[in-house]
Amino acid sequence: MSIQILMPALSPTMTEGKLAKWVKKEGDKIKAGDVIAEIETDKATMEVEAVDEGVIGKILVAEGTDGVAVNTPIAVLLEDGESAVDISTAASAAPAPKAAHEDAPFVNPSCLPTQTPAQPAAAAPAAEKEWTGPTVSVTVREALRDAMAEEMRRDGEVFVMGEEVAEYQGAYKVTQGLLQEFGDKRVIDTPITEYGFAGIAVGAAFAGLKPVTEFMTWNFAMQAIDHIINSAGKTLYMAGGQLGCPIVFRGPNGAASRVGAQHSQCFASWYAHCPGLKVIAPWSSADAKGLLKAAIRDPNPVVFLENEIMYGQSFDVPADPDFILPIGKAKIERAGTDVTITAFSRMVGVALQAAEKLAAQGISAEVINLRTLRPLDTATIVESVKKTNRLISVEEGWPYAGMGSEMAALMMEQCFDYLDAPVVRVHGADVPMPYAANLEKLALPQEEHIIDAAKKVTYAA
């Protein structure tokens, strides 16, 4: 059967083009790969190569013709043993295939519910078990180490990799003792090459291992953010669910103390922005231990944002060896009735101190420790605001497109009718972190900022 040669699309955006020149003429014998014509597209002049073998039976579109639509038959190719007479029988009624190149405009599902399937409601996080048994007081640093050690004992596929995690015993001593217990096969010092070792860890996770990848700080993970997002976060989706990436990226995030702009930045909203990742920011030792264990067991890539200043602080942790916390569940650290304060990481402690002072002034604040930033426990926040009718979001990071912006959006979408005051964002100053002690203090959220905000939203100021 003769074959119709169609006007080809030669770029992702081409819908029509000019048939500039026929290189072959009627009666010419052609084989696959031969250049048969030249076409001017919206971008360039391109050669059209034959795909099939045969003889050009008839040219349907003369050279020099402008505006030839993609998929218009431009010539008829005869196969072995056919003559031009067969042309009339060529299947010409084949419907033009639908062009795949017409990009659908981006649609926000919440704007166009009739065209886009609604995002299924997120599965509720596992209920948090009450841990009523005895507790032990440990530092956040020890809690993190214990979590890794317990999971490494439980699962031979868990290993720890990063700069100074083994012989140095951890740049911040978080991995202290792991090398001695698990050996250098499972506790691996890397060179100072974040991009490379993050990629190696992701590759190992593709193959089914469960790496815990330590960044000395999240500032340096900027070099590795391509592998965290493009390789770890997107592969499950791109693979149609075939290939996941069970990995934890962890390390201290946010401002440390007097280390200047390149070593003091909060990356919470950067990673929380990305589908395909889970993002956790623990505050207490119990958070650190329970959530790191959960992160290591989770089959997804988890970004685990610790805080250097918290490492030395002690908290009570359930002594139960099975202690673990669910990812995606916030914790009400202090119940209150007048205003809801959300915070994560070190700012939870600052918010609790502010709440204590507010109580003395007759304002009852409810402090929510977010613990997981993606998926966010919106139910707990919304329920709280329905009671208090006010929300203050606290974070160390910059305000623009920050976690506080997300809280404000959440309030607009789910609590609009419950709000008695605008949402207030308490956050780091919108500047690179200064070094001078006085300026650094001015750049970071303080207890007074939260107290002022609470007075403002309760109209007590």
Binding site: P8, P97, I188, G203, A204, F206, A207, N230, G240
Partner: protein, 340 residues
Amino acid sequence: MASTPTSGKAKLETVKSPSNIASPEQMLEYFKDMLLIRRFEEKAGQLYGMGLIGGFCHLYIGQEAVVVGMQSALQPQDTVITAYRDHGHMLACGMSANGVMAELAGRKGGYSRGKGGSMHMFSREKGFYGGHGIVGATGPLGAGLAFAHKYKGDNGVCTAYYGDGAANQGQIYEAYNMASLWKLPVIFVIENNKYGMGTSQTRHAAGVLYKRGEGYDIPGEKVDGMDVLTVRAAALKAVEYVRSGNGPYILEFDTYRYRGHSMSDPGKYRSKEEVEMMKENHDPIEQIRKAILATGKFAEDDFKKIEKDVKAVVNESAEFAQQSPEPDPSELWTDILVEG
């Protein structure tokens, strides 16, 4: 460290007598595997022209000998990872033409159910780990797959492919460093098709690519990537070296892509004569065809039958891709995270 053939003088010496490298039957298999890739890619180009395949589509035509020769030296537990000129690697790994073509068309029957496209396909079952769109990413990711082989002790080897353009990415050298330090079983396969998109190697790369492992104590070799038997000989040697626990190895294959970088490449950066010269004098499929005929074991009729079979497979894949429905709209929201 074992003897390191980094001088490049060893080129072709290992294949003076092709009969030692592959039997006529094996050679016929390579012919078939390369022809399948060639015809598949031609069909993909055609479907792109019809608007059935969208976005970027990077064809492997001309480079077939590299992946077919490499695969011939691997074992079932070995793994493969490459960048976005990847359809040939998938077929060579044994992935079905139907599944690959349907994915190119963005259909439900594709390997990623239409959600990955030309550059993003995977088959854990066949040891194929993508299909990656970021230039250079396969260096560390491949070293990571090799890390897992070593960690699990499964005696596997990872072949990590990237192009001459990607060979300039910094992360490649971070991967070299750790792969050599930790003696990871990885072969870094540089498919040097002479152009990083439209920039020729002479304009984008200083020095010699296969020698860039020298400072990391990684042996490297430059190999004629247009002759599948030469590729196979080099692959067997590299695989043996790597599987024996010596650490990584670099193979730089001189190869050539006949088509543009992607479909919208006007090809202004190289001459038609150059492309024609490569097609006429170095075509990998013609070379193996001649080598097979020289054995006297097979004749034109054997090729004809293979050509017919390959055409049928490719046509069926195009048919399958067009018949396969688009993914259900609900697929928008699946596979973002592993549930549970």
